[in-house]
Symmetry: C7
Subunit: 88 residues, 7 copies
């Protein structure tokens, strides 16, 4: 099952970044903010979406719609809520 | 009795997706979120509606107007609230 | 006494649809949602109103202004609040 | 003392419509909704105001600004709040 | 000290209208609504302000910014909040 | 250290106007409203800002952002919040 | 790891300004307002962003999205929230 976003939207998958304190203790989930970094899986046809498949993006808090596809969790983001691209 | 949506709107019918936990236990309705997947039954004449009859779409939470036609439940969605198309 | 809507508006009369449960018991008004189906009586001159006299339309909840003319109850609807046309 | 509305506005005077129940009993004010019918007294210069002096209009609830001129009560309405014209 | 409004604004001075009841009793301030009639003292350069110095205008409730100049009280009104002109 | 406002903004410095009651008693700060008069120190490059360095302006209540530069307090105002110019 | 802002946005790093009272006592963090001065690290491609890498900017309170990159804290600002540039 695949998902094709419409218009100025992107389908993304959350990226779990390593979360260790200086002392090396891994923080439990309740002590961390929800990650805001995601990998782009698919984009709509609009020219106003400036990211492409494979980009790692940072998105605005409280944005996006969560959906579940084939048992995995994804988010659908509006172009306006994608703040920038992380380049390794 | 048929229904013709006006403008940038679509008439859709909710799709009940199988909802089983890993252990095979079927969740009662109160434990599940309202499904957000629907099949398109009819669309308005506007060029701004990018889906067609038969498409399976995901729509935004808290969007749409529920109506009952011939005893069945449908929703009328604005084009802006249709987030993407599910392709099997 | 007649009423001529201005601009992108329509004057409509509510359609009472038969409301019977499976067992044939007619529900009292307090157990039913307010009907959202209406017949178009007159429309404004704007090209942006896509319905015509005699059309049966579905309109958005909480929209419209109720008025009483010659002892009958009517509603004045904005074009944007008319979701579609019911075709028998 | 006269009043000239500016732009897309009309000065109107409320029309008291006869309010009798089927049994002929006149309802006291507290049992009636505020009337929403008014006669147009003067209009602004804008082309976007489609009513003229003498028209009887229906206007949206909770709209308009009440003013007192020469001891009489009037309302100033925006063109958008005038829903239609009553033709006898 | 003079004040030049910028853009679509007018500087006005409130007009105290005579406030007597039918019995001739002058109402104390707390029994009267704030007057909404004012004389135009100066206007901005915008073509969208349709009143001129000396006009007596009615303005919308809760609009305007009060300022004090040379010990007198004035209001600065946006053009949109000036509803019309009173012609004696 | 200098500050260059961007776009339709002005940097201003509050003007303390003499505040004496008729009896000559100087009011303490808590009895006075915050002054709304300021001198323009610098403006952005936009043509939509109609004031210039040295102008004394009146600005809307609750507008602007306070900043501290070289130990002095300033405000950054949007052009829309500058109501007019005081001419002595 | 680098971050490329999209559109009318800038990536900035907060600038800690010296905070000493007249008596020379350094205020603890809880006694100070959050600083609103930042250095621009990277900007998006839009012509509507008028600042460049290295500029020291003042930004509106309660604006921006905080992110952490390589262990350092940054903010992503919309062009509209950048009020001006500090020139030493």
């Amino acid at each position: 099952m695949k998902f094709k976003p419409l218009g100025e939207r992107a389908l993304v998958k959350l990226v779990e970044r390593e979360e260790k304190t200086a002392s090396g203790i891994v923080l439990p989930d309740t002590a961390k903010e929800k990650p805001q970094t995601a990998e782009v899986i698919a984009v709509g046809d609009s020219e106003d979406i400036k990211v492409k498949e494979g980009d790692v993006v940072v998105f605005a808090k409280y944005s996006g719609t969560e959906i579940s596809l084939n048992g995995d969790d994804y988010m659908i983001l509006d172009a306006d809520d994608i703040l920038g691209v992380v380049e390794e």
